[in-house]
Symmetry: C2
Subunit: 448 residues, 2 copies
Amino acid sequence: MLIYKIPLACSDDQGMSVLIKNCDWIVTQNPSREVLRNCSVRVEGTKITEIGNLHGDAEYVIDGSRKILLPGLVNTHTHLSMTLMRGFADDMRLQEWLETKIWPLEQKLTGDICYHGALLGCLEMIRTGTTCFMDMYFFLKDVARAVEKAGLRAILSHAMIDLFDSKRSESQRRITQEALDFIKSLQSSRIGFAMGPHAPYTCSEESLLWSKEVAERERVPIHTHIAETRHEQAQFEKEKGMSEVEYLAKIGFLSPRLVAVHSVFLTGKDVELYARNQVKVSHCPVSNMKLAGGGVAPLSEMFAQHVNVSLGTDGAASNNCLDMFDTMKFCALEAKAHYWDPTVLPAQQVLDLATIEGARALGLEKKVGSIEVGKEADLILVDLKSPNLVPIHGRSTVVSDLVYATKGMNVDSTIVQGKPLMINRNLLTLDEDKVMEEASSAALMLTG
Amino acid sequence: MLIYKIPLACSDDQGMSVLIKNCDWIVTQNPSREVLRNCSVRVEGTKITEIGNLHGDAEYVIDGSRKILLPGLVNTHTHLSMTLMRGFADDMRLQEWLETKIWPLEQKLTGDICYHGALLGCLEMIRTGTTCFMDMYFFLKDVARAVEKAGLRAILSHAMIDLFDSKRSESQRRITQEALDFIKSLQSSRIGFAMGPHAPYTCSEESLLWSKEVAERERVPIHTHIAETRHEQAQFEKEKGMSEVEYLAKIGFLSPRLVAVHSVFLTGKDVELYARNQVKVSHCPVSNMKLAGGGVAPLSEMFAQHVNVSLGTDGAASNNCLDMFDTMKFCALEAKAHYWDPTVLPAQQVLDLATIEGARALGLEKKVGSIEVGKEADLILVDLKSPNLVPIHGRSTVVSDLVYATKGMNVDSTIVQGKPLMINRNLLTLDEDKVMEEASSAALMLTG
């Protein structure tokens, strides 16, 4: 790979011109899903300005030969700081896992611990080709600090949990409002905000509806866990005589701003309610399979009703990685196996969920999610010089190769808003050893 | 990493002493499943001679700090040369896939094409930590040539398909006999033979029983696809009024030498027949999910009856990679999701399937599959200097980290029979660029 100029670190000045030259393949994800052969992309400042057979120079030239250029992947559900709990407790039942392992650790969280966990998560995402994500956790300012440093694009939310206690609801609203004000004060074009009422079984109606009201006013997404497990769904049936989604429809919580995370245990009527209210779904197959809450998300039924579906990894504690290539493969294979039909969730559709549909879920579809002139340059390069990516049979199979054969570790370059974060596996915004060392120390403060 | 001496290429002289020093963790997979901290392993010639707090020197010293040492993974079902068809045709129904895509390509196979495909497969396995595998395909001598060059351990079988034609049965027996004689003539301690009657729906009773007879005489495994799909099972019910396994029991084909690949669509009675006849199962979750032949292999039922289960990737055309870490994660998560129980297939059990149980399936459990003094040194090192492997919480979570968070690409060293094939990501037996280039050319001869 030829790189004519590598800045030692990226400046915040986004006026640089970047030329990604002679890519073997460009998987554009544009409306006609064009796959281009031997083409180049020019970026000026934060945006893509030209795509084609380009000549001339740029301040920063990246050789794309023997590589696939594609839009950066969009992960619509993370708990970034939970990278620190990766592998801490596996093979356990959800409730026991939460009550005896995760929640006790979370009592010990501090802003600094969350910062180091979030930075580790950002590092893993840069390395594995995710350029944009939606997070939900605590100590949001510290998570934002990590995202800012790493250079990724993110929508951050504070996990609001009131446990039906009005005093707690009040304090959670205050924290949420402060977080919102903080994000607004950043005036960042990369870091946005979402309301984060955790789940209908941890939040009062009051908190849910307040979240929706603020989301409408501020024009931001709502990020909520819904219908993750059979147990949860059964509790709603027992206590309210209706499904969780029916309850949410009844109180008026459903909305086009809502990204309903998990949405596994749904009835046909629930899917209809989603469709009618234009609810978005963040599907997290790896976490759902690993925690085994029961059932399989009814993807075909959602697609039949044109529900927007995108993909999330969930936190590293229940995955145990943040690799969206892993999640794409699990998404495709789980659905095929579930429906006894190998034609379900073909590669192109799965790649859509991880790119343009993810952008749509976050209200960013005009900015990112595809490689088109005028869009922001959130791009990744997959290095084809790896045995698992040989052979490439041609234009019609490249997307398949991305979904079924590519690993996150095949990504060798990651660019966000025109700014290179990793080129040829060299990190430009983060000191990898330092991030991993400090994260290990932070983890020890939690578990030690 | 410190390597005091790296031979430019590996000699066939297996008299070298190797010291793998100060490994952060050694996951021994010995009978008590010990995980050792800060220990070393000494190898003299082909065998492990010491494990512990070792001092002194060796001809070849490998620094194991910030690494996990574990037994090389054992892949009990591959079609190695099919790496050339990786991604060639995905998202299709099995029969259509075979008839319109795979079989027509296979008409064009030659020994050289198979050699280049097999070499690419060996390269991918070395890179992702597989040290031993059982293969079934055509042009076995050429596959053996590739395995010999790469330095891996393998059991090779010729795919016998007679389509119930007695003339064809005869010629297939001849080819099989020649392949057997060839492998015997190699007198290799690394490359063995298995009988490979393809499947009960492609082989006559005569061919099946002949295979069993030869296997008994030669004391080698039998490698056969059984009960892969719902369709196949339904055909047996229709034509013979019994399940496929019942038919095989009736004709006397079941045996402790049989590695029954797939074994997805089984009845409770079938599992009992397996147990009674000590049949071994090669479970291929990725391929089964991707081809979506229906159902999920009844693993819990097999374990309850003490059936030996191991793991296979299947060919790259239906996976689309040969990464056993990928297969371990799919195995665990598919079973958890299927049984609605996250405690099913815990990490330790999954790692067992991919190591010692794989060795047992191939009759090699006294030679490989664990790190014990006296066993052959088939070893791999996982590099912990990667964000997806931070933090490591301690002895009790290392196995979990291997199964849920580790990627094949985290493997940085692979040793077979005491002979280093890859050290610190440098390949010692294969020229990676050349292997990939020649495989691409070979693929073009098939598809072009």
